[in-house]
């Protein structure tokens, strides 16, 4: 899922400094599941902003709302009245939600309350680990189902560098982050597919990644 973390309160406060009426708008999908921008987080941030702006002597009117999916117009239509009444919107959605709101309600500025930080797997309660970088050219069939593009600090495609020790990546040694190439090695060994590691993977085509420019999928079979 898309995961995100809330920005520091001070940063959010500075973004809304010139507004008097502010809508905090949550999203009921990914960021709800990762406890960053759902109804509960909207309520907490709204309360914090009410208190903080009161203490600063510039109390703002903070309203709250959470839509089911902020990256789609039809869900955001439910927020139309709230947006109209507000001077500014703080979105607690991922970067897609923030941009959808700005596009859909161009007369009001929607600012980001979250930092969107990856496509991750919740590996234990309160822990999300990045798993995919959406490079548009999947190699998981070559690597035993573990992604070196997202999980290797150098996105290596030809096996572990010299900084892999006792299964830990040197770059994140303090966090004890596993070396994904060590994991790939052991996985392929278990699968009896170590020969795959001997194949030379030539220069990757990054055109399908962001490097080819903003990506767009058009499915003619689905268009109306």
């Amino acid at each position: 899922m898309i995961v995100a973390e809330q920005k520091p309160l001070e940063e959010i406060k500075s973004m809304i400094a010139d507004a008097r009426k502010v809508l905090v708008l949550g999203c009921g999908t990914c960021v709800t599941v990762c406890f960053a921008g759902g109804e509960k987080e909207v309520s907490i941030l709204a309360s914090q902003l009410r208190m903080a702006t009161r203490l600063d002597g510039q109390e703002k009117e903070i309203r709250e709302l959470t839509v089911q999916r902020q990256c789609e117009y039809e869900y955001n239509e439910l927020a139309a009245d709230h947006v109209r009444d507000a001077d500014m919107v703080i979105s607690l959605a991922c970067g897609i939600g923030v941009q959808t709101m700005n596009e859909q309600y161009p007369e009001k500025l929607t600012v980001p309350g979250l930092n969107t930080s990856g496509l991750s797997q919740p590996t234990e309660q309160g822990v999300w680990e990045e798993r995919c970088q959406a490079c548009g050219n999947c190699v998981l069939h070559l690597t035993g189902g573990l992604c070196p593009v997202a999980r290797c600090a150098k996105s290596l495609l030809n096996g572990p560098c010299g900084g892999s020790q006792r299964g830990i990546c040197e770059v994140y040694a303090e966090r004890e982050t596993p070396c994904v190439w060590d994991q790939i090695y052991h996985r392929l060994k278990d699968l009896g597919q170590l020969d795959k590691l001997l194949e030379i993977e030539p220069a990757k085509n990054w055109h399908t990644s962001r490097d080819g420019g903003q990506r767009k999928i058009v499915r003619e079979d689905l268009r109306l």
Partner: protein, 343 residues
């Protein structure tokens, strides 16, 4: 064009082909635009090693560029071995720089992935890693042997020709995969390999036995990475702080005990006479340096006996003065190898 059947005809290639047990050196460019520092270090390496590696922003610290220092070394009569990492340049910039490097006279190239930028002095920078060390080797080999750029376009005119090198770390994990990775680099185009610093000879011997069993030593020249330890602190640092590095505890003990008959640091601190204290500190330093060089010489001598090792790569960064004594004692290189002296 190659001459006399050589790929590039560099000193390094000629010495390797001739079957000498070669020695290469290393020079770390300055963190400034100061040419004098290079000239100062270069004097200690001139004429005693086949070629000198010039690091490419090693440990991701900004330094003078490898190719520009290579030009200065050539002006000083030293053959450079330029280094190129995948961290800071994409395939466009890499190929462009290598066209220039050939035109400037460089003929040896070490292809590396590069240290991650979080270790350096610009940890907030964006890294590139468009290629990795192995795909970089392929690109460089195809430019040289097929006269094509990575995209497949023909190189019209002079192609960039380099003797291609790669690094190998025999001590990193998964240990059992490391010989295969060396073989993969050889297949991708590595004409020679320079290994990580060796301070665990038995483990390196095990590694080389497997490399030889797999026949990879016949596909590429393998140079064992060696270097003198300057102090007990340096030995401990390498043993505990440098990822992918193994230091035999015996060397730490030796670096410690080599100063045991001399006044301790505590005793020196208590000395009243500053001149006496200075002399005592110097004596400790000299004893440690002598032991460090002795260990390095022993490791080189051990490597000479390991099948499949074609030479040594001596890394004495910030201690270039030590290289002469090492190659002299080991009788290596153009100046000291008895086999290479005119009759």
């Amino acid at each position: 064009m190659s001459d006399n059947g050589y790929l590039v005809g560099s000193n390094l290639e000629k010495a390797l082909r001739a079957g000498y047990f070669v020695a290469t050196g290393e020079l770390g460019p300055p963190q400034s635009a100061d040419r004098h520092e290079i000239e100062h270090k270069a004097q200690f390496l001139k004429g005693i090693v086949e070629s000198v590696n010039i690091t490419d922003n090693q440990t991701a610290v900004v330094r003078m560029s490898s190719i520009s220092v290579a030009v200065m070394l050539m002006e000083l009569g030293i053959e450079p071995n330029i280094q190129m990492t995948c961290r800071d340049r994409n395939r466009i910039a890499i190929q462009s720089d290598l066209l220039g490097a050939h035109a400037l006279g460089c003929r040896n190239l070490l292809c590396l992935t590069g240290d991650h930028q979080t270790f350096g002095n610009h940890p907030n920078s964006k890294n590139v890693h468009d290629l990795d060390s192995i795909s970089l080797l392929q690109v460089c080999r195809d430019m040289r042997d097929k006269k094509v750029f990575e995209c497949g376009d023909a190189i019209k005119g002079q192609e960039p020709r380099f003797l291609l090198g790669a690094a190998a770390n025999p001590f990193a994990d998964p240990f059992e995969f490391r010989p295969y990775r060396l073989g993969k680099k050889a297949r991708a185009g590595a004409d020679f390999i320079q290994t990580q610093l060796i301070f665990n000879v038995p483990k390196f011997r095990d590694y080389m036995r497997r490399v030889v069993d797999l026949g990879f030593h016949e596909e590429t020249y393998i140079l064992a990475g060696v270097g003198p330890i300057k102090s007990l602190g340096a030995a401990k640092y390498m043993a505990t702080k440098v990822p992918g590095m193994e230091v035999d505890p015996e060397y730490i003990t030796r670096m410690q005990s080599c100063t045991k008959d001399l006044p301790s640091l505590g005793e020196i601190k208590a000395m009243d006479d500053p001149a006496e204290a200075k002399a005592a500190r110097n004596a400790r330093k000299e004893a440690a340096e002598a032991e460090g060089i002795k260990i390095c010489v022993e490791i080189i001598d051990a490597c000479k006996e390991i099948e499949g090792v074609a030479g040594v790569h001596i890394m004495a960064i910030e201690w270039e003065e030590a290289v002469d004594e090492i190659v002299k004692t080991c009788q290596l290189g153009p100046k000291y190898d008895p086999a290479r002296q005119p009759a």
